[in-house]
């Protein structure tokens, strides 16, 4: 981290804050959550401490890396009236490139999914591109999946396969407790060389792969994600939409915690002037929006999806079905955030299975559905 900071990166990563794992600026390795485990189930997220000394024994909270490259609120541009026309200025770019510490495979893939949307070749978002440009990714193998995790069903695994500069795997076996680091890019390799750590042995690498394998085998939720786009065809009138709508609060939490949700609002703000003269400047801003908002989609001023049923159907089918047609990838990486952070405990895996006519996935082993305070 110090080497990355010295190279000019703004280093961000996990911290324990207010009882959750948040992503924030890091000073040193001491800022990382240590001896922390996390318990997740539909509608529930709890942080616990142990004496393991593990650095990455936790699973992510509501934060995702999206907030750094696609912030919840940002200034897009300023438009200033001139005599007979107007001029447009852009906000200054970020001073430092970003370095992400501890990105899980689902999060690395989520960034790639978001790239496909916001950096589409025809109309790439220059602000996103500027922030995204040259992000240094230190990924970490997930050793302990949460009970809401289902990444292996959505085309991932607990071990990042691509999209990182350095991949860490935390190994704690008979040999000892250590971080096995592997380079995924030239600059990753260069960094590792500079740090002069001991070279990983064949046994170290085997142990790291073993951690990934054990995590994959222990993945609590399984569903044939690749088959979902086809299986969800023709489910528009499935009674389950109505059943979910009876529980769904239409609060939009699932969309706010989702690492791939990109829907947004552009709004122009024209300030008043001190002297009462006509305003001359407008600030165009962009904020995250949600398909659970009544006015998200309108036609002639009318809400297109006037019911919670219609809005939940839009959310789930977009994530698991229509995203593929729109952007060539699935819209879901299987991180489980939408399920964990749903105040009603609505479980996307369960609902998708019911709709798709698949055997409903087993409830997570440590599920405490209904008992959350």
């Amino acid at each position: 981290m110090q080497a990355l900071a010295a190279d000019g990166y703004r280093v961000v990563g996990p911290v324990e804050r207010d009882g959750v794992i948040a992503y924030a600026d890091l000073g040193s390795g001491d800022d990382l959550p240590t001896s922390v485990t996390v318990e997740q189930s539909p509608g529930r997220w709890r942080l616990h401490h142990d004496d393991s000394g593990h650095r990455f024994g936790w699973t992510p909270g509501a934060d995702s890396w999206k907030q750094f490259v696609y912030p919840a609120h940002q200034e897009v541009l300023r438009i200033r009236r001139t005599d007979g026309s107007f001029v447009v200025t852009s906000p200054p770019p970020a001073a430092q490139p970003l370095a992400f510490i501890g990105a899980r495979d689902c999060e690395v893939r989520a960034m790639a999914v978001l790239d496909r949307v916001v950096l589409d070749p025809l109309h790439p978002d220059p602000r996103y591109a500027q922030r995204r440009d040259g992000v240094f990714v230190v990924a970490v193998t997930c050793g302990v999946p949460a009970a809401t995790c289902w990444c292996t069903s959505m085309g991932g695994g607990p071990q990042p396969a691509a999209g990182f500069d350095v991949r860490l795997t935390e190994v704690h076996d008979a040999v000892g407790h250590r971080l096995v680091a592997e380079a995924g890019s030239d600059r990753g390799a260069e960094l590792l060389l500079r740090l002069e750590m001991g070279a990983a042995t064949t046994d170290d690498l085997a142990a790291a792969n073993g951690v990934a394998r054990a995590a994959a085998d222990g993945m609590p939720r399984r569903l044939d994600g690749a088959a979902l786009p086809a299986l969800l065809q023709g489910t528009d009138h499935h009674p389950n939409w109505e059943a979910v709508a009876e529980r769904c609060l239409s609060c939009g939490n699932c969309t706010m915690v989702c690492p791939t949700c990109f829907c947004s609002t552009f709004s122009d703000h024209t300030g008043l002037t001190d002297d009462g003269s006509a305003p001359i400047e407008t600030v165009r801003e962009q904020d995250w929006a949600s398909c659970f908002q009544l006015d998200h989609s309108t036609l002639g001023g009318h809400a297109v999806r006037a019911t919670t049923k219609a809005r939940y159907r839009q959310w789930l089918t977009h994530k698991l079905q229509t995203w593929t047609a729109q952007f060539g990838t699935t819209g879901c990486v299987g991180c489980g955030r939408c399920t964990t952070w749903c105040p009603a405990g609505i479980d996307i895996v369960h609902e998708a299975a019911v709709l798709a006519g698949l055997p409903t996935a087993a409830q997570p082993p440590n599920s405490q559905k209904g008992s959350s305070a």
Binding site: L299, G300, G301, H302
Partner: protein, 153 residues
């Protein structure tokens, strides 16, 4: 008589009828020319004639004291005017006016109803054709009702 038969056979409403059906209808069908501006039917009047338009254009008009008379549909070459003659109480519900000089085939409604009752093949043909007219008018009416070109309510 053959002229009437041919006129019936070439009108879309009656096309597909067999010779027997055409001959039955020809016995109580008359050709009538109507100048522009002449009333073809008046609201409340006895609907004793079924009009099939050979050429020209008629307007179906609705009127009330609180507004100007409004043409709500036009009837053109190859189409028919109304179905009030088919059902009790056999009274017109709208005014119909010739907007152009028109030629029509006028069929005596009482004899047509009797023929339909006596010959169900003929009766089905007439009912089938009238249903198509009704369905089209109903869809049009619904679109006019929601005022699709207006600002959505």
């Amino acid at each position: 008589m053959n002229e009437i038969r041919d006129a019936l056979a070439s009108h879309p409403f009656f096309s597909g009828l067999d010779e027997r059906g055409l001959a039955t209808l020809a016995a109580f069908t008359f050709v009538r020319d109507v100048p522009a501006g002449e009333w073809i039917a008046r609201t409340g009047a006895h609907a004793d004639v079924f009009h099939a338009v050979v050429h020209g254009r008629a307007g179906i008009e609705i009127h009330a004291a609180d507004r100007e008379p409004l043409v709500v549909a036009t009837v053109h070459t190859g189409e028919v005017i109304g179905w009030s003659w088919f059902m009790e109480p056999h009274r017109w519900h709208f005014d119909v006016i010739a907007l152009d000089a028109m030629r029509m085939l006028d069929l005596d409604a009482a004899q047509l109803r009797a023929a339909c009752a006596a010959d169900h093949e003929l009766g089905f043909h007439v009912a089938d054709q009238l249903t198509r007219v009704l369905a089209a008018r109903l869809e049009a009416t619904r679109h006019q009702l929601v005022d699709i070109y207006g600002i959505a309510r």
